[in-house]
């Protein structure tokens, strides 16, 4: 639990790592191409790639948005400790 509270910045690393771990699944998926009827097995399936491209763009924009938020917050909470911020902001 302490690991999670080391700071908001650490969360972004975590998210980035999650995004990075996703890719092997899509790579595997490409190998299992289902368009095998005409012997074109070697091609990767483009659909998951197209889809993940959308997801990457969305993920990037969300991260940018969150970073702006964190920069704003860091003005008053320089340590960015989530538990502290939470204590100050709970009703």
């Amino acid at each position: 639990m302490d690991v999670m509270s080391t700071g908001v910045v650490a969360y972004y690393v975590l998210i980035a790592a999650r995004g990075g771990l996703l890719t092997p699944i899509f790579a595997d998926d490409g190998d299992l191409s289902r368009m095998g009827s005409n012997g074109l097995n070697a091609y990767a399936d483009p659909v998951p790639q197209a889809v993940i491209l959308t997801a990457i763009v969305i993920g990037l924009s969300i991260q940018a948005l969150m970073l702006v938020g964190v920069m704003k917050l860091s003005r008053n909470n320089p340590t960015l400790e989530t538990s502290e911020i939470e204590k100050n902001n709970m009703p």
Binding site: M1, M4, S5, V8, Y11, I15, R18, G19, L22, I25, F26, D29, L32, R34, V47, P48, V51, T54, A55, I58, G59, S61, I62, L65, M66, G69, V70, K72, L73, N76, N77, T82, S83, I85, E86, N88, N89, M90, P91
Partner: protein, 481 residues
């Protein structure tokens, strides 16, 4: 009709950007968009045959629009119109309206699509737009609440994305129906994503803080429609796939009980309403066949309640006991509270009766308990003191926009009451009256005196993420069992 539907999905995004370019017409554009959506939603009921569109072959975008989504779309349109009316005289910038309309459009898209990837995109756009709306005041607290929301929903959507690709792997398309052939972990992963987005059961406990700490019109939109974007796919899945129906019903019942339990002991008006949203979502899921009507009712009533709660002199029930509110507000508040407790003559009654009728036997006792809890928690509102505004200097004059918004929503409640006439049998009328009566008795005799504070442990940021992974494991075992 096909072109019309696609146009209708695209237009809000277009208008959203136009508002930003032409800030002078922001309100008019926003309002006309909401009216357009209302007309479209109403037109859906006129032709009951479901409209299915498949763009770009089997792995492309699939849209399914039928009366079920019609209910959701109508809710969205009415709530947006009310919120625009509410904000009409406030100094909100064009940015606010632009985000509001983009949010409106993406929620519409979420209600129309029937494949996992378009849904993913719609849900992510919703998160971004909702974050910008929550963080609109630019205060530290609002930014923190918004960040927390964005983080939780983004993490959940990552789980969801993994699930979606598993479905694709086993069927070669992202259509909802493909979930049946997918491995159980796919349902668990997608389920976690939707449970978190929809604010269901323990993983939905991010919702009270977010909804109560944002501004009044924003919480009305969030509670009225945005959570439904997560609920709608669950309802759709339960209808398409019979084998997942019991799991979703079980979640519905437990959510209804959990939310109402928290709501009964809550001392803050907006937090109470937010917990109540959790419990009402449970009602929608408990009977997926009629969930649409319930969602419409709940959207109308909850957003009007949030708008009214924003006009009250204080947020704490204790202070409200001592400081009477103007009678006009009290009347509006009582009408809304009556509707949500299921009082005859209002659409909450029809919705509750319809839901109760389509329950499976094991659910009945639990759902009646939840209905009782609803009556108890809204007794808090009904028994607040009020007075005619004899000293006008004391209360600031109410804005007309507020009244337009509230009367639109409450008028909607009366009008939709007509949808389900058959509910009016004597047994059906007596039951909710008895429930309300018993609820009030319990409130007056017991709850009014007790002071009991529930711990907010589960609402802390770290626990939200932890609970998410626990839910994942739980869902996985439920599917396997």
């Amino acid at each position: 009709m096909n072109t019309l539907s696609i146009l209708w999905i695209v237009i809000p995004f277009f208008i959203g950007f136009v508002i930003y370019l032409v800030p002078k017409f922001d309100r008019y554009l926003a309002l006309s968009m909401a009216i357009l959506s209302t007309a479209y939603g109403a037109a859906l009921f006129a032709n009951p045959s479901p409209l299915t569109l498949q763009l770009l072959d089997s792995f492309g975008v699939t849209l399914v629009i039928d009366p079920l989504s019609g209910y959701f779309i109508l809710t969205n349109a009415l709530v947006t119109a009310a919120v625009v009316a509410y904000c009409w005289q406030t100094p909100k910038t064009a940015f606010f309206y632009a985000q509001l309309i983009i949010l409106h459009g993406s929620v519409n898209a979420a209600f129309a699509c029937a494949d996992f990837i378009s849904l993913y995109v719609a849900l992510e756009v919703i998160s971004i737009a909702a974050f910008l709306l929550i963080a609109y005041p630019r205060s530290d607290r609002s930014i923190w609440v918004g960040l927390r929301y964005l983080f939780v929903s983004n993490t959940a959507m990552l789980f969801y994305l993994v699930g979606a690709v598993l479905v694709y792997q086993s069927t070669g398309s992202f259509y909802f129906g493909g979930l049946a052939q997918a491995p159980p972990e796919a349902f668990a992963l997608i389920g976690v994503g939707l449970l978190v987005k929809g604010g269901i059961f323990v993983s939905g406990l991010w919702l009270p803080l977010t909804h109560s700490e944002s501004e009044t019109p924003v919480s009305a939109v969030l509670s009225g429609v945005v959570v439904k974007a997560g609920v709608y796919p669950m309802v759709r899945c339960a209808l398409v796939l019979q084998e997942f129906d019991p799991i979703i019903r079980l979640f519905g019942v437990s959510t209804a009980l959990l939310g109402v339990f928290y709501a009964m002991f809550e001392k803050d008006t907006k937090r109470m309403l937010a917990f109540h949203t959790v419990s009402q979502i449970g009602f929608i899921l408990a009977a997926p066949e009629v969930g649409g009507f319930y969602a419409l009712t709940h959207g109308l009533v909850k957003s009007s309640l949030f708008l009214i709660a924003g006009a009250l002199p204080s947020r704490s029930f204790k202070e409200l006991q001592e400081r009477p509110m103007p009678t006009a507000i009290w009347v509006a508040l009582v009408i809304a509270s009556f509707s949500i407790s299921g009082f005859p003559m209002l659409s909450g009654f029809g919705a509750k009766v319809l839901t109760m009728k389509s329950l499976v036997p094991w659910q009945v006792i639990a759902m009646n308990l939840a209905a009782l809890g609803t009556a108890i928690s809204f007794a808090k509102f009904i028994f607040l003191p009020h007075q005619p505004p004899e000293k006008p200097a004391e209360h600031q004059p109410m804005r007309t926009g507020f009244w337009i918004a509230v009367s639109l929503l409450i008028g909607g409640l009366f009008a939709t009451n007509g949808i389900y006439y058959e509910a009016y049998t004597i047994a059906n009328i007596i039951k909710p009256l008895a429930t309300i009566g018993v609820g009030w008795l319990i409130y007056l005799l017991i709850l009014k005196k007790t002071i009991f504070k529930l711990p907010r442990l589960l609402e802390q940021f770290e626990h939200l993420i932890g609970v998410m992974s626990l839910m994942l494991i739980l869902l996985f075992w439920m599917v396997l069992a």
